[in-house]
């Protein structure tokens, strides 16, 4: 009766875990979208001709990339309230994820932008194109396709790092799996299912990445 893995029990906890998984997906997509946007000014500032700005932003990026996400999460959740910014666990989690990944994505952008040869900028300059038109019509269309695989890798990474939000009691997938474990003293089923659900998310993200790559090449 007390089998290693009870299908009945697994089925009974499935709805809760699926709901929690949907929370993880939403948190990740929200944080990833913010990171995608936040990374752009970071990348532009880091490549700016203003040396001080470039250095300040560069140091910030290296600090964020060089410290564990969990440390940043605790700093945001427990540290910011001390200086007057109290927030919900979910808000703190989204903020930490967005900033952490924003810094990685900024480096992806920077590498992508720098891979477009300066002669392309010179050609646009010789046509008197404005900086914004040059970026939109010349640089980004060439810079984005090679970035897609790296962007996909970080999306997958973010699904997994979203589990860290369990440590500040955000009710995402891992938190829920742990809670089911403590309630029922059965960990095998919730953790196995949680693992499989994380795997599905990663595979989904990888599939999405490949689809985007293909669409962009055809265009």
């Amino acid at each position: 009766m007390n089998t290693f893995f009870s299908l009945d029990f697994a089925a009974s906890i499935m709805p809760r875990l699926l709901f929690a998984a949907s929370v993880t997906v939403k948190l990740t997509f929200l944080s990833y979208s913010i990171a995608l946007i936040f990374a752009l000014p970071l990348a532009l500032a880091r490549t700016s001709s203003n040396r001080y700005l470039a250095m300040a932003v560069g140091s910030f990026i290296e600090c964020v990339r060089g410290t564990p996400m969990l440390v940043q999460l605790f700093l945001v959740f427990y540290g910011l309230p001390k200086i007057g910014f109290t927030m919900q666990p979910v808000t703190a989690g989204v903020l930490a994820l967005s900033v952490h990944y924003g810094c990685y994505l900024a480096e992806v952008y920077r590498a992508g932008l720098q891979a477009v040869h300066t002669t392309q900028r010179e050609a646009a300059w010789a046509l008197s194109m404005s900086p914004i038109d040059t970026l939109k019509s010349v640089i980004l269309p060439q810079a984005i396709p090679p970035m897609i695989p790296a962007l996909g890798t970080y999306l997958i990474g973010m699904f997994k790092d979203a589990a860290l939000l369990a440590s500040i009691s955000v009710f995402e997938l891992l938190t829920t799996a742990k809670l089911i474990g403590t309630e029922s003293f059965r960990y095998t089923e919730p953790m196995t299912i949680a693992g499989l659900l994380f795997l599905c998310m990663s595979l989904g993200a990888a599939g999405l990445t490949r689809l985007l790559e293909r669409l962009w090449v055809i265009r």
Binding site: W125, A126, L127, M129, S137, V138, P141, Q142
Partner: protein
């Protein structure tokens, strides 16, 4: 669009009628300790075809690139139609300004590069249409129509929908010429535009240049190692040496009767090399 039209008319109203198309006045350009343009003085008349010749490293590309404001200058002044285009006393960000007024001055000048520098993600017609659409504010349809006209002029109507990677070097360079012409500049700069081409493709590009020269109005500055072409194409020829115009004169005079010993040596070396 209207704003640019107003700026343009005010510019031409204040322009003295006989100002040179472009003018280098005591221009210096340095890279670190290397002086590449050394007190450069040069006047190019309107509609003139000027060939620039000289040994590698003599500053020919730099001359064109400073005129296109791709490079800043360290001293002196460059004028276009009698107006200051850039000035050595200006800080770098003013010399390389992205502001609309600066871009409007720059718009009088177009440049074709040795390596074509086409936009690889755009078809031939899109390459030609993008700047007229974005910079001159033409509608998509007007821009495409104009692009087709210029592609026809360089003999590439049938390749309009091809990506650059599907074109030969000669065809790519002709698209690049059409792309510059579509902005209807007054001055066109050509920096060794046939040097990257296989020998059998050089002729088709030179043919386009010759046709442009015969049409008249355009001021053309052409850096080339093709001496026979320079001779038949150019009104005047400037021989550059160590960052200065060492000798300048009518094409025939320079090639048949160079006054300077350096010019003679250079021409002898080039002609023996073939």
């Amino acid at each position: 669009m209207n704003a640019t039209a107003i700026i343009d008319s005010s510019l031409s109203a204040s322009t003295p009628p006989l100002a040179p198309a472009c003018e280098f006045i005591h221009v210096c350009k340095r890279y670190g300790s290397l002086t590449v343009l050394k007190d450069m003085n040069l006047k190019v008349k309107r509609a003139e075809k000027l060939a620039l010749i000289g040994p590698s490293g003599s500053g020919k590309s730099t001359l064109l690139r400073t005129l296109m404001t791709l490079e800043t200058i360290d001293a002196g002044e460059i004028k276009v139609n009698g107006e200051t285009l850039t000035h050595g006393s200006w800080p770098a960000d003013r010399q390389r300004s992205d502001r609309p007024a600066a871009r409007n001055r720059r718009r009088r000048i177009g440049m074709v590069f040795q390596q074509f520098n086409l936009f690889p993600h755009k078809t031939a017609v899109e390459n030609v249409a993008v700047a007229p659409r974005k910079v001159l504010g033409l509608s998509r349809q007007e821009a495409v129509e104009r692009a087709h006209n210029y592609l026809e002029m360089v003999g590439l109507s049938s390749k309009a929908e091809e990506l650059p990677s599907r074109l030969s070097g000669g065809q790519q360079q002709r698209v690049a010429i059409a792309r510059s012409l579509a902005m209807q500049p007054e001055i066109m700069l050509f920096d060794e535009v046939t040097s990257a081409l296989d020998p059998e493709l050089v002729g088709e590009v030179l043919g386009v240049l010759r046709k442009l020269a015969e049409e008249g109005d355009l001021t053309m500055l052409l850096v080339t190692h093709q001496m026979e072409f320079a001779r038949s194409f150019a009104d005047r020829v400037a021989f550059l040496w160590q960052g200065q115009v060492h000798e300048i004169g009518d094409a025939k005079a320079i090639f048949d009767n160079p006054r300077e010993e350096r010019t003679r040596q250079f021409l002898r070396a080039v002609l023996e090399g073939r």
